[in-house]
């Protein structure tokens, strides 16, 4: 038990480099300040996570409802009428309801779950814990960040209940459809609420992002140089940079849209004849909005996937008992992805009439992203090679992440090539591509993170058996759902269709659609099992008996089992080495807090 000594070493090796925060026991928390308007980054992380889980259930349930329509276009489900009323008259949803569900599914999952729920949770939880800080640079801003997100959630939730329904023009909210109430029932008050909610959401993201960046740049503990940080922190760093630089552009696009809707401007509107009359707007460009939207929209997919990459890197190293392979190359590729993320947005717009010469540069830069992505995949493969892998639910989800990231990433090479994109644009191929690479993968990264750091969050374990069932059903189900969609897309089957039966080119997939819908229901039920496991384990899970259950090197495991506000009861430990000394010199692992020994080999 050589670890025994190291576990307690933090008590001994304390130098007075850090100012003395006597955070423990210095104030009594009441319910409001502890659980509601908490300033503790760990509690805020939990708030983000639980809000995200609630949104995920709603968003996923919406997909079950519209998959019922796609799989069984002729069947009726009377219970739908009971919950949706006239939106599902006779037990079959209307096209308007279908489009509202599709739009909300996208908005909720992309922004509220995979942005706020994923990076909001883990940036908050892990940045102070892993860099060795008592809390965020500004705990108050951090608290505001959550509550702005909460407000955004309330407004979005309210939009579900207005009489004309929520926004229904697709999560990208392209004008003129989203600008004109006459064009779609969802573009009445629904879009206003959507825009307000998203504006609040952007505020939340900026408050959070600035905080993450300043914390990890300024508040690292003694010895924690940038190149000693775990890859999780690096990925949260790049995620926050992406968000801070691109969300304001999205907000400006939204403000222009709001003005087109209510102030009579013509930023996006021109030459429109609708509802029996010609509008006065001239000279605007509907394409301008797409540029502004995708300038965030593309970095957004990396905002979603980078935190997952970071957590997977960490979990794979811990569970393989091996250092992550090519630590510097991993940082370099994160950096490359971060830069390229800003230079590829127009690949979403190859068929908008974009200048083909300009398009050529976007093809080149888009396919360039495959290089850092390939480096990451090969590095993960080499990390598990010759390891000694423990299959915890977290490590299984990490392996699943690598698998789906490969599958979904490779189809990106298809779509990034503009000539192929002409045929596949806005078909089911695109749905398959981004659901696998940023939906399933990001969720796998998130699940890996939840299973891995649940003991740190709640001082208890989640149930492993349910975790294994959750993993296997989800992995198999995800492939069964999305793999065949590539074929539908190759046939040119368009996205966002309510019903395909009147089309001779696309009606050959009726049986397949039914199959997919059934799998969707099974996978959804399995996610509920996970949610149950999560909440049950908070209260009844097996208790942690040691500080460092996974035998990891990083700082968060040097805190007490249930750390108070301030994280370390004594001084913050000093860091002497990188985060990946696993199986070095015959030792299972060496914590970051242990000084480099005289006879130690270099890495």
């Amino acid at each position: 038990m050589s670890n025994e000594a190291t576990l307690h070493s933090q008590q001994e090796v304390m130098h007075g480099a850090h100012d003395h925060h006597d955070h423990e026991h210095h104030h009594e928390d009441n319910f409001i300040s502890k659980y509601v308007f908490s300033l503790d980054h760990k509690m805020i992380a939990k708030q983000f996570l639980i809000t995200g889980i609630i949104w995920a259930i709603i968003g996923a349930f919406f997909s079950v409802v519209f998959r019922l329509q796609l799989g069984f276009p002729d069947a009726t489900f009377p219970w739908l009428e009971s919950i949706l009323g006239h939106w599902a008259k006779g037990g079959r949803i209307t096209p308007e309801a279908y489009y509202a569900l599709v739009t909300m599914h996208g908005t909720i999952l992309v922004f509220f779950v995979l942005t706020a729920g994923l990076s909001g949770t883990f940036s908050n939880l892990l940045i102070p814990l892993q860099v060795g800080a008592r809390d965020m640079a500004s705990p108050f801003m951090n608290c505001l960040s959550y509550w702005f997100f909460f407000l955004a959630s309330l407004v979005m939730m309210a939009s579900l209940f207005v009489q004309t329904g929520p926004a229904s023009g697709g999560w990208t909210m392209y004008p003129p459809l989203s600008a004109l109430g006459d064009a779609s029932i969802g573009s009445k008050i629904g879009v206003d609420l959507w825009l307000i909610s998203m504006a609040l959401f952007v505020v939340s993201q900026l408050l959070g992002g600035l905080n993450y960046i300043s914390t990890l740049l300024n508040m690292r503990t003694k010895g924690m140089s940038m190149t000693k940080m775990p890859l999780t922190i690096w990925s949260f760093f790049f995620t926050a940079v992406l968000g801070v630089l691109s969300f304001p552009v999205l907000l400006s696009g939204f403000i222009l849209l709001l003005m087109d809707r209510h102030a009579g401007t013509s930023f996006y509107l021109s030459d429109i004849f609708i509802a029996g009359k010609a509008l006065a707007n001239e000279g605007g460009s509907a394409i301008l909005y797409q540029h502004l939207f995708w300038f965030l929209g593309h970095p957004e997919v990396y905002i979603i996937i980078l935190p997952a990459m970071g957590m997977v890197s960490e979990v794979l190293a811990v569970s393989s008992r091996k250092p992550i392979f090519g630590y510097l190359a991993m940082i370099g590729s994160l950096f490359a992805i971060c830069i390229l993320a800003f230079l590829v947005w127009a690949h979403h717009m190859f068929v908008t009439g974009l200048n083909p010469f300009l398009g050529a540069f976007f093809v080149l830069l888009t396919l360039l992203i495959a290089v850092p992505s390939a480096i990451k995949v090969f590095n993960w493969l080499t990390t598990i090679w010759k390891g000694n892998i423990r299959f915890t639910p977290a490590s299984l989800f990490s392996i699943g992440f690598v698998s789906t990231f490969i599958s979904g990433g490779l189809t990106g090479i298809w779509l990034g090539n503009s000539s192929i994109d002409i045929h596949l644009h806005d078909t089911y191929f695109v749905i398959a591509h981004f659901h696998i690479v940023m939906g399933v993968s990001a969720f796998f990264g998130m699940f890996a993170g939840i299973y891995h750091w649940f003991p740190k969050m709640y001082g208890r374990f989640m149930n492993n058996t349910i975790g294994y069932i959750h993993f296997w059903v989800t992995l198999v189900g995800a492939y069964l759902i999305f793999w065949p969609m590539h074929y539908e897309g190759m046939a040119g089957m368009p996205r966002r269709y309510f019903d395909y039966s009147s089309w001779t080119s696309f009606n050959q997939f009726g049986g397949l659609n039914q199959f997919i819908s059934i799998v969707v229901i099974l996978v959804f039920a399995t996610q509920l099992l996970f949610v149950f496991n999560f909440f049950y384990s908070i209260f009844k899970g097996r208790k942690l008996t040691e500080q460092n259950p996974w035998k990891a090197t990083t700082l968060e495991w040097t805190t007490p089992i249930n750390p108070g506000h301030g994280n370390w009861p004594g001084e913050i430990p000093e860091v002497h080495r990188w985060a990946y000394d696993y199986s070095k010199d015959g030792r299972d692992f060496i914590p970051q807090t242990e000084p480099i020994g005289p006879n130690e080999s270099a890495h």
Binding site: A183, G284, S285, N417
Partner: protein, 345 residues
């Protein structure tokens, strides 16, 4: 009632799974953490390798099942290039896909935790890193080069002799206009749109070029002859999707766009080729445009020059529909359908 039963069954299954999970947790505590971990490692290691094998078989099976229902031969000359590029990309990404997935699941299975195994401390290796930076970079350069070659061909100017057809999207159908004998489309202004006066496109009747333009309910094209679509929209963004021709272009209000291609097979030939008597070339709207998006279907008929000429001869000029002579002869059935189509809101 059946819904209630279904919920009951699901809840029961949940409870059973939960009880098993709880019991197995107690068992693992009794057995000791190490032993429990070894057992779950063996099971999951086996499942990983089983998933790999069954997954690859599944990929093969899925392909056999569905390959007959997709692509088919491109119905346009230009689409052949797209298909070639798809197959080249499929070959490259396919090899990478199979290779990396095998490595991933094989490594996970092979290097699962075993008594006495020591993990290999292997933090980095510059040569390996360079290899897997350079090889993908080369492969992607090839793909970019191929892709851009086709891209510039596809987006090049249409040949001078190409026929011209104007397609304008509106919620929720397509308005199709032919330039008539002069081969040139007349001016349009969205402020002149007047459905009641048979002018759904806002054609400018002062423009001489407008006088011989005619509108149709279907697009008719001549096989083997290049055609250029001039694409626009009257309200929101639509998209002219032509899956069999491998073509697609957005219809944006205020900004005209174009695409061109050369149809290779007549509709009749395609019916024989596909063995599907209902085969139709369809225009699908590929950009979300409102509640009727899914029903925004257009039809293209590709035919021989003779058939096409006969069809053109039957099309009434839009000018004469908009300016009916006081004692005009009774309109024939084609006119009626055109007028009915136009009258749709």
């Amino acid at each position: 009632m059946s819904g209630f039963l279904a919920v009951l069954v699901i809840v029961l299954i949940f409870i059973v799974i939960f009880q098993i999970a709880k019991a197995s947790e107690y068992v693992s505590i009794l057995k000791g953490e190490k032993k429990a971990r070894q057992q779950s490692n063996r099971i999951n290691g086996f499942l990983l390798i089983a998933f790999l094998v069954l997954g690859l078989i599944g990929v093969y099976y899925c392909n056999n099942l569905l390959k007959g229902k997709i692509l088919g031969e491109s119905a346009s000359v230009q689409g052949e290039g797209v298909d070639t590029l798809i197959y080249v990309t499929l070959a490259i990404t396919g090899v990478v896909f199979v290779g990396t997935q095998i490595l991933l699941f094989w490594f996970a299975f092979k290097y699962q935790e075993k008594e006495g195994r020591k993990a290999f401390y292997f933090p980095h290796n510059n040569r390996l890193e360079v290899i897997w930076t350079v090889i993908p970079a080369i492969a992607l350069t090839v793909l970019v080069a191929f892709g851009l070659k086709h891209w510039f061909q596809l987006t090049s100017d249409a040949p001078k002799d190409a026929a011209i057809v104007e397609i304008t999207g509106k919620q929720f159908n397509w308005l199709i206009r032919y330039p008539g004998k002069d081969g040139q489309l007349g001016r349009r202004d969205f402020k002149k749109i007047d459905e009641a006066a048979s002018n759904p496109l806002g054609m400018d009747w002062d423009d001489q070029l407008s006088k011989d333009d005619f509108m149709a309910t279907e697009v008719h094209l001549v096989v083997g002859k290049p055609v250029k679509f001039v694409i626009g929209s009257r309200d929101v963004i639509h998209d002219v999707g032509l899956p069999q021709f491998r073509m697609k272009m957005d219809a944006v209000p205020g900004i005209p766009t174009t695409l061109w291609f050369t149809p290779k097979f007549t509709t009749k030939q395609m019916k024989e080729k596909t063995g599907n008597p209902d085969f139709t070339y369809e225009i699908s709207c590929d950009q979300m445009c409102g509640s009727g998006h899914y029903s925004m279907r257009g039809v293209i008929v590709v035919e021989t020059q003779e058939e096409y000429d006969a069809w053109v001869a039957k099309q009434p000029l839009q000018y004469s529909l908009a300016h009916p002579a006081p004692e005009a002869p009774k309109a024939d059935s084609t006119q009626k359908t055109v007028a009915a189509n136009i009258a749709k809101p």
